[in-house]
Amino acid sequence: MPELTNRFTSRRGLLFGTAAVSAGALLAGCTSNESDDEPAANDQPAAEDKPGKEVTIGFAGPQADHGWLNAINDNAKSRAKKYSDVTLEITEGSNDTAQQIGQIETLINKKVDVLVVLPADGKALTQVGLKAMRAGIPVVNLDRIFNTPQAYRCWIGGDNYGMGLNAGHYIGEKLKGKANARVIELAGLDNLELTKQRTQGFDDALKNYPNIKKVARQAAEFTVESGQAKMAQLLQAQSKFDALWNHDDDQGVGALRAIEQAGRDDFLMVGGAGALSAFQAIKQDNGVLKATVLYPPTMAASAIDLARALGQGKGVSGMAEFEIPASLTLYSAVVDKDNVDTYMSTGFK
């Protein structure tokens, strides 16, 4: 009996399967996202352009499941391509700690000259960083920092506190002289330490402006969907305010949609991270978005520069030291209408 039904099932399954496959084929043409845009990358000239000793750089990053991480990968790849003396060994990105450890160990076994690591979780990957350093492979730790400085030769990353600080100062200056100014904050994922740091920086900056009061804060989840939902609620809660800081341009797409749907334009908005869509909106200057604070994905290109310099035993040109620094915190520049053209090419999608 079971065998009989099984055979019957598989034939029917085949029929349905065929229907599904053909429906799929019909749709398959629609998955294309081809466009002629260049990937986000930095055109800044590389540190020392004269080819030197051949360097093999191993690169391990997390899964590029959102725009910023995707830009990190693009920046690393395109930078490495610019150097004729650099070979890039890039692993498939993973958010799984165990898998990323395995990938880095493979790179260590391959005896790459230098490692660039953007850990999925900085603390969890400390051990493998230590292992690489002990094996004599210098590690450039990108953005998400390891537990101990012993696990990296050089750390380079963004400044979350500085993002909040600069956003706060920008808004503070814009609202100078306005009595009882009201400011609201659309934060990112509250589970993350970086969100707390951004909010802390923002609050600290606002303390310099006694005329400004932060009246509301809601946390979205770095996604368009959550940005729209939380912003719609914030707009309903606050019938009047003067400025808004949104931590992240990705969720900002949703936030701008909510603002448009509510028909509001009586305030100024500052974004965060530096997405292409945000740069374009700032340049057009016909909406509420007037500026964004950078968390530059070009740091991956700089990490390749540093790794190459390490591999060739050089320092950073333009500095007196013979060695590259142990730690580099990048500046969170404010991009507004005046300087947006400079940064346009670094915008990510």
Partner: protein, 339 residues
């Protein structure tokens, strides 16, 4: 869990077997008490919102906002209610919404305009539902595992299509539906779709053979098979229905957010299951209520709204949300058992 369900397996909120007056009446009363207690919870929430933020909460725009935010997850929950009523589960709803929304907003799809986006969103949803249904009904896979597998692959495919990028919709016809100008008599189009899906869902579950079969399969699949119901085909249709709801929800989400992103529909499966359970649908199957599910969704959305209006942070929101789920279920149990 199923023991306390009274002998007649048919337990939807309004229908009952004819010819058994006592249990028929008992069933009706119990169902009504269940719905009434949910309405009571909602009334208390509205009272809290009205007291804490009278100007912002008791406002037409806020009502429109709450109902709009409820629409997307509401449509998903209607489909989920059918699946759970049949004793199944669909963990893949969030991932299907994500996949549908990104597939429907690629550069290539957007070239076909409004129709192309709608068609793709719905067809991808139905397609995923079909695969789920085939695996479960004819492949003999447990719903939990089959839909878990779909969750993983649909999210993966969504990521592959977007490459992690946000796909912004430029088709005016789609975007316009989310603007205030599109409201008819003050009702947003999204809310209308939600209402229509709810009414159709209610009619199917309570007034059709299909609905009765669903309940029968959930109550006792073997008995249903012996009674001449093609259980496997019924299951296939149910997951297809859930997929269809996900496709519709994805289209609503595209209108609402003006974009497609692979992170869309995050944890919808849990929200939809929670709303259905709070509403009074049995997780073990055999009893389902669309009215209850929709009230469950409205309760969740109203809570979120009140918290945001009062500027409470996510940590407090999450703690309170958990407490309210427990409270709502306890209140329901009590009121249901005392009658």
């Amino acid at each position: 869990m199923t023991q306390h369900v009274s002998p007649p397996r048919d337990g939807t909120d309004k229908t009952a077997p004819v010819g058994q007056p006592p249990s028929w009446r008992g069933m009706l009363v119990r169902a009504d008490v269940r719905t009434l207690s949910l309405l009571g919870v909602l009334a208390v929430l509205i009272l809290i919102g009205g007291i804490t933020k009278p100007d912002e909460f008791l406002d037409t725009r806020n009502l429109q906002l709450v109902l709009t935010q409820a629409s997307v997850i509401g449509v998903v929950t209607v489909g989920m209610t059918f699946v759970i009523t049949s004793g199944g589960i669909d963990l893949s709803v969030g991932a299907i919404v994500a996949l549908s929304s990104v597939w429907a907003t690629t550069v290539a799809t957007q070239e076909y305009g409004f129709g192309g986006i709608l068609f793709t969103a719905v067809l991808v949803g139905v397609g995923c539902g079909l695969v789920n249904g085939l695996l479960i009904a004819y492949g003999g896979m447990v719903p939990f595992i089959a839909t878990l597998a779909m969750l993983a692959s649909a999210r993966g495919l969504a990521l592959q299509i977007t490459d992690g990028k946000t796909q912004i919709v430029t088709v005016e016809g789609v975007l316009d539906l989310g603007e205030r100008d599109a409201y008819v008599l003050g009702i947003p189009p999204l809310v209308m779709v939600f209402a229509v899906v709810t009414i159709i869902g209610w009619l199917i579950l309570n007034r059709t053979t299909f609905g009765r079969r669903t309940v029968a399969v959930g109550g006792n699949a073997e008995a249903a098979r012996l009674a001449g119901i093609d259980v496997r085909r019924q299951r296939l249709y149910l997951y297809l229905l859930s997929g269809l709801c996900c496709g519709i929800a994805a289209f609503l989400l595209i209108i609402l957010s003006g974009s497609g992103q692979n992170t869309n529909g995050n944890l919808y499966e849990l929200d939809a299951i929670a709303a259905a359970i709070i509403g009074g649908t049995l997780l073990t199957g055999g009893r389902g209520t669309i009215t209850g599910s929709v009230l469950g969704v409205l309760i969740f959305t109203t809570i979120t709204n009140i918290f945001a209006l009062n500027n409470l942070q996510s940590d407090v929101q999450q703690i309170a949300k958990g407490a309210i789920i427990v409270a709502a279920v306890l209140v329901q149990r009590r009121t249901a058992s005392t009658t």
